[in-house]
């Protein structure tokens, strides 16, 4: 059960990271609110 739980968490982590990268390559969120982007995703 714990092994399955770990796998589910890994999937959530991967999907959310992909989503963050998608937003990072865009001008902004696809909606009218833009939170502060994490430092490691910001372009210098």
């Amino acid at each position: 059960m714990k092994h399955l739980n770990h796998k589910v968490l890994m999937v959530i982590a991967a999907v959310s990271t992909i989503f963050a990268s998608l937003v990072a390559t865009s001008a902004c969120f696809w909606a009218g609110y833009q939170p502060e982007e994490p430092k490691c995703l910001r372009e210098e």
Partner: protein, 222 residues
């Protein structure tokens, strides 16, 4: 921090602890989770409120058109997620309701001429202003600005094709739904391009202040 941001943050903290991820990965995960939750909530609100007024598809089409272009062109932003949500619902559902009431007065010529004027204006504003960044996500590199401008223009090209094909299908089948869909795309483009302009920023900032004050006052009274 909004409630949705808080939930995304807490989820990221727990997942990062369980998977032993570092602070950067946790922050990226929180950002991605919030992006997913906020955008899903916005889309769902538009569909649900649109359904209450009998125009879910039209409202969603207007919202989708604006959102997809917004991804590359940027634009004025709300100060809080719920204000963004409220503005999104108003901007998508109100035109969809009006379109539902007056769609029998729409003609192919009216949609075509409105579309031509709207797209000429959209290309001009996009070329001149896009991408419009925000304090939360500044765009510093010139190469990124050029890439996003090109992508915005490409999306506009795709919209022109979809709107024209929709008009052509209406011309061939006389199914008025296609006339409506074509006009929804035009409305979505007009709204999104308007948020790139100074007037758009002024209007959205005023709406932001108004909604903030309205709910602060209500909070004090209750």
């Amino acid at each position: 921090m909004s409630r949705v941001e808080y939930i995304a943050d807490q989820m990221a903290v727990k997942i990062a602890a369980e998977l032993q991820l570092d602070e950067d990965k946790r922050a990226v995960m929180a950002y991605g989770l919030f992006a997913f939750m906020h955008m899903s909530l916005c889309a769902l609100s538009v569909i649900v409120v649109g359904a209450l007024f009998g125009v879910p598809l039209e409202a969603f089409l207007i919202s989708l058109t604006a959102s997809f272009l917004r991804k590359s062109s940027g634009g004025a932003h709300a100060s809080k997620p719920w204000i963004c949500n409220a503005e999104g619902v108003i901007i998508s559902v109100v035109p969809a309701i009006l379109l539902g009431i007056w769609h029998y007065q729409l003609t192919i010529y009216l949609v075509f001429i409105t579309g031509v004027i709207a797209f000429i204006w959209a290309y001009y504003i996009t070329l001149k202003l896009a991408p419009v960044d925000s304090p939360g996500k500044p765009i510093k590199k010139q190469a990124t600005r050029e890439r996003l401008k090109k992508r915005s223009l490409l999306i506009l090209n795709v919209y022109v094709v979809i709107a024209l094909v929709s008009l052509l299908v209406y011309y061939l089948t006389a199914n008025r739904l296609f006339l409506k869909y074509s006009f929804c795309i035009v409305i979505g483009v007009i709204w999104q391009v308007f948020t790139l302009t100074k007037t758009g920023h002024l209007l959205l900032n005023s709406a932001d202040v108004f909604l903030n004050n309205l709910f602060k006052k209500r909070g004090r009274e209750s």
